[in-house]
Structure formats: structure tokens, C-alpha cells
């Protein structure tokens, strides 16, 4: 539908609730509507003629400019969620849409960007999250219910807690739940990734330093232990903690005191430790890479978090949760996933666990404009014909071996339920039994 001629465009743009600005080919702002003034807090007189990045100040401005991408790829960007920084230092979540502007000859003469304040939507999102039990932990599988049953008692105790689980199983989420359910909930929760920082920096990060501890330490700097006083410190990837720091952490766990770098006096501390790792700590102890005494000190209460394949029945409710969350954040109206997508997700092995599921849906949200998420919106490796998909990768070997794999795979997918497996394969119980008994060794 074409736009009616002779309409006062400026009046139209001024009346819309979304912020709107246009730029020329040198990225100078040429139009800035009233809503843009209201959302950014910058007057039109100050904005006009200035570079768009100086006015908009978004997380995309340096290197990932939305209008720039539109011009380069000749596409439109719709409903991309980002943040801008206002002059008072607050971060404002906004959803942007961008498009190139061309003249009658088809030459690019600039671009247009609209943006919507997502603050209210984010507040709603928090309310939605608050409805869930134990912060953001979603699910009702037996494996999860087992943890939910002991979580309040574990949280109420002051004991050091060790969370074991593969990557993406939500270790930090559980650590936060322990903190929020404990009497320390009003205190700080400080997370440290022990594997992300170099050894020297990690020591000063954890324990802080005193002025003069090293050449450039002009003032005292509190460590994250001090920042967590009265609360909980979450030590992620504890298995990667350098041996030299293991000694210092051990002393802290035994005596609840530590010395900042360059300090001469011990500091008493009241901090609960929740540690987590995806490593086999016992093996690391056996290999001499983790101190046995520290292992025992950490291993007071241990919780093993289930993988997503161990709680497959949670996949639908997790999908609903992530779709709802993404809708709230991105201001979209995705209905959910189609049945065939759900079946595919139920069959997938998820080596990256819940994080992988979340990433898959995040990817799908980019490609899916509205309605149901379809298979073509999923990452390619999940497509039925894609490499690495369980449905087709087993087509090798003799017919007997292929049948065996098909039977075993379908049985696993149906959680060991033989009747469901027979229905899916359209075979009798006797045939299934025969197929399984004829499986070659190792299959």
C-alpha cells in the first residue's frame, strides 16, 4: 500500500509514540521527533546536525550500527533489543528498527531508525519471573523436584555448598536461589568466575589489596570477598582455581579470615561460599591439580545438577518460559513452537544443556517474525537433514545395525517406554524385543 500524497509527514512523525530520527550519508541527524526527545532526554536543537552515535549512545553504535548494516546488506532491522545510555548515566532498554532511505533514483541518501522504550516491558518481565519458584528455575521433572525438596534446607544452613553440573545446567541460577532462600538474602550476592581472570588479577579481585601493595596500588581496593560481606560469594569454575590461590581460599574456609595483598592484618569475614564446577574434582585431586584438603572443605554439601537430557520432560515448560521471556524483552508476539519443532527439541541431545536450548530459541526469535517458530527458524545443525542430527547420522553399517540403532534411539527418546516406541516405529512388542536382542555388541 502506498503512502497517500500531500500528507503532512512531520505531523505524522511527531504524533507517534516511538522515537524516530533520520540521518544523512555522513551520519548527521537530520530529523528528531518529539518522542525521541522524550526518550533520550536530548532536545531537538541539540540533536540536529550532530553525529547519530553522539546522540543515541547505544550499545550498537561502535561497529554494529543498525542503519549501517541496513545500508550495507540492503535489509531492514526490526525489533532489535539494545540499550542506550542517558545523560544521567542510566541504561535504558530500547527496541530499535532501522531502514535505509533512498531517493527516486534508488540512491541511498541516509537512514531512518525508530526506537521504543522497553522499561515497562522489562518490569513486566521481572514480574513474570517472580512468579516462578526459586527465582528463575523452571521445571517440574522428578530430577528437579528432588533438588527443590532439599534446596530450602541447604539454603538455611550456613554450610559451604558445592554445585556440580555440566556447562549450561544453571549453576549460577541455583547459587542465586540458595542465596535468596537463605537468611543472607538481604546481603550482597557476588559472583566470580575463577577461570576467567589471570592468576594475579584473580588474587587481588578476591582478596583486594592495600595501598602500596604494588607499584600502582595508590589506594586500597576492596576484594570481592569484602564486597560480599554479610552475603554470599559464588565461585564459579572453582576447579580452575590456581593452586597458589587454593591455599589462601583454604585458610579462609578454615578460619574465616584473609589478608588483602600487601596487608599485614587479617580481616575477619562473614561470607557464605557457594562454589561450582563442571570438572571432576576428585579426578583433579588424584591428578594433583586440586588440593585434597580444599576439596573436603568445599564438599560439605554437594548438589549435582541434572543435565537437560536427564530432565527432558522439562523441555516444553522451559520452551514456554523462554518464549514468554523473549516476547517480553523483545516486544514480539511469538505464539510458541510448532509441534514438529517441539518433537525435534525433545529428541535433541543438548550437550550445552539449558543454555543451548535458550540459544536455539534466541536464534529462532531473530528469524521468526511472528506466529509459531518453525523448523526453518532453527539453527541449521538442528534441521532434520543437517549434520549431527540424531535422526540421520545413524544411517551407516548393516541393516541389522541400523535397525538396532533406530530401536535404541526411539526407546531412549520415549524415556524407555516400549509401547510408545512400538507405536512410533509401527512394530509389535515382539519385533522390538527381537531388534534389541540382535543388536551387535557395542551398539
Amino acid at each position: 500500500m502506498s503512502f497517500p500524497k500531500n500528507l503532512p509527514l512531520e505531523d505524522v512523525f511527531a504524533s507517534i509514540a516511538d522515537g524516530l530520527f533520520t540521518v544523512d550519508t555522513d551520519w548527521n541527524i537530520t530529523y528528531f521527533n518529539e518522542s525521541a526527545e522524550r526518550i533520550t532526554g536530548i532536545g531537538v536543537e541539540e540533536a540536529l546536525g550532530r553525529k547519530c552515535w553522539d546522540v543515541f549512545r547505544s550499545s550498537l553504535c561502535d561497529g554494529q550500527c543498525a542503519i549501517g548494516q541496513c545500508i550495507e546488506k540492503d535489509v531492514r532491522i526490526v525489533n532489535k533489543s539494545i540499550f542506550i545510555i542517558k545523560a544521567d548515566g542510566t541504561k535504558l532498554p530500547v527496541s530499535i528498527s532501522a531502514s535505509p532511505l533512498t531517493n527516486a533514483d534508488g540512491e541511498v541518501i541516509g537512514g531512518v531508525e525508530t526506537f521504543r522504550d522497553l522499561t515497562e516491558i522489562q518490569t513486566m518481565r521481572k514480574k513474570v519471573k517472580d512468579l516462578y519458584r526459586f527465582e528463575n528455575i523452571v521445571g517440574h521433572s522428578p530430577a528437579l523436584e528432588k533438588i527443590f525438596r532439599i534446596l530450602p534446607q541447604v539454603s538455611a544452613s550456613p554450610a559451604t555448598t558445592l554445585l556440580l553440573g555440566q556447562t549450561g545446567t544453571g549453576k549460577e541460577l541455583f547459587a542465586r536461589a540458595i542465596h535468596n532462600l537463605s537468611h543472607r538474602k538481604d546481603g550482597p550476592f557476588v559472583a566470580v568466575n575463577c577461570g576467567a581472570l589471570p592468576e594475579n588479577l584473580l588474587e587481588s579481585e578476591l582478596f583486594g589489596y592495600k595501598a602500596g601493595a604494588f607499584t600502582d596500588a595508590r589506594t586500597d581496593k576492596p576484594g570481592r570477598l569484602e564486597m560480599a560481606e554479610g552475603g554470599t560469594i559464588f565461585l564459579d569454575e572453582i576447579g580452575d582455581l590456581p593452586v597458589s590461590l587454593q591455599v589462601k581460599l583454604l585458610r579462609f574456609l578454615q578460619e574465616r579470615t584473609y589478608e588483602p595483598l600487601g596487608g599485614v592484618k587479617s580481616v575477619q569475614s562473614d561470607v557464605r561460599i557457594v562454589a561450582a564446577t563442571n570438572r571432576d574434582l576428585e579426578q583433579r585431586v588424584a591428578d594433583g591439580r586440586f588440593r585434597q584438603d580444599l576439596f573436603y572443605r568445599l564438599n560439605v554439601v554437594t548438589m549435582k545438577l541434572p543435565t537437560l537430557t536427564e530432565r527432558r520432560e522439562d523441555i516444553p515448560v522451559l520452551v514456554d518460559h523462554f518464549v514468554e521471556e523473549s516476547n517480553a524483552i523483545q516486544g514480539k508476539a511469538i505464539t510458541g513452537v510448532s509441534e514438529d519443532v517441539m518433537q525435534l527439541l525433545m529428541r535433541h541431545d543438548f550437550p550445552g544443556n539449558i543454555r543451548e536450548l535458550e540459544n536455539i530459541l534466541e536464534y529462532a526469535f531473530i528469524l521468526c517474525p511472528s506466529g509459531f517458530i518453525q523448523i526453518e527458524h532453527l539453527p541449521e545443525y538442528l534441521h532434520p537433514s543437517g549434520a549431527g542430527n540424531g535422526g540421520s547420522s545413524g544411517l551407516y553399517g548393516t541393516m541389522e545395525e541400523i535397525k538396532c540403532r533406530a530401536a535404541k534411539y526411539t526407546l531412549m527418546r520415549n524415556n524407555g517406554k516400549r509401547m510408545a516406541t512400538c507405536r512410533e516405529l509401527k512394530i509389535s512388542k515382539d519385533t522390538l524385543r527381537r531388534m534389541l536382542t540382535r543388536c551387535p555388541e557395542g551398539e
Partner: protein, 120 residues
């Protein structure tokens, strides 16, 4: 002219200009202030975008002054509590920023809507 005769100056950069958002800078360039003059002193190239990691790295190398673009309140508070004098809401090339630092003329580089935030 600035009265500071020594110290380490850090500029949050994107290519040859100040980065729009300090936390998103792809490089932090360092300059040594010695006897009232400014000398290049290397750069910090940080893969992590976590503001806490970035603050720690800036503090660990002993930065005294930071010049940058937009900066959120939490990031600024962490830097200032570590003893860094922060001058945010600036725009312009590195040359312009260094010039403004030496001559105390930050107001000419103020981002739109931020002139009142600069206390030069």
C-alpha cells in the same frame, strides 16, 4: 593548562575516536603524563565486556585519569572508588581529547545534552 605533572591517562576508544559507550570500547589507550607532557604508553585490549573485569584491569594498571564517552552510573562509581578521576560524556578524536585534557577545555567536546555534566 593542567596542573597534573604525572600520572597515567586512559582513553576509551573506538578506532581513532573516543568510543560512544565506555563499556563497549574496543581498546583503552594509555598515555603517560610526565612533566606536563603526554606520551603514548601502550593500550589495554580486553576481550571481556564485563564491566567489573574492565574496571579491574583499568585499576590494576594504575590509571589516574579516564576520558570517555557515555558511561553508566555503576561503572563510573566503581572506577571513582578505585581512585580514578573520570571525565565522561566526551566526543571527538583522540587528538582532540588529549588537547582538551592538556588545556582543560572539555566543554567543547561535550556530547549533546551533557554540557552540564562536564566540570572542567
Amino acid at each position: 593548562m593542567r596542573t597534573h605533572s604525572t600520572g597515567l591517562l586512559c582513553l576509551a576508544c573506538y578506532k581513532d575516536r573516543l568510543a560512544t559507550v565506555c563499556e563497549n570500547a574496543d581498546e583503552y589507550r594509555l598515555f603517560e603524563i610526565r612533566d606536563g607532557n603526554i606520551y603514548p604508553a601502550g593500550h589495554l585490549s580486553l576481550p571481556s565486556k564485563d564491566p567489573m573485569d574492565r574496571t579491574s584491569a583499568i585499576l590494576a594498571c594504575g590509571v589516574s585519569f579516564l576520558l570517555c564517552g557515555a558511561l553508566c552510573t555503576e561503572f563510573r562509581a566503581r572506577l571513582e572508588s578505585g581512585g580514578v578521576t573520570v571525565t565522561p560524556w566526551l566526543t571527538g578524536t583522540l587528538h582532540q581529547a588529549l588537547d582538551a585534557f592538556q588545556n582543560d577545555t572539555f566543554s567543547s567536546l561535550a556530547m549533546p545534552g551533557c554540557a552540564g555534566q562536564l566540570s572542567s
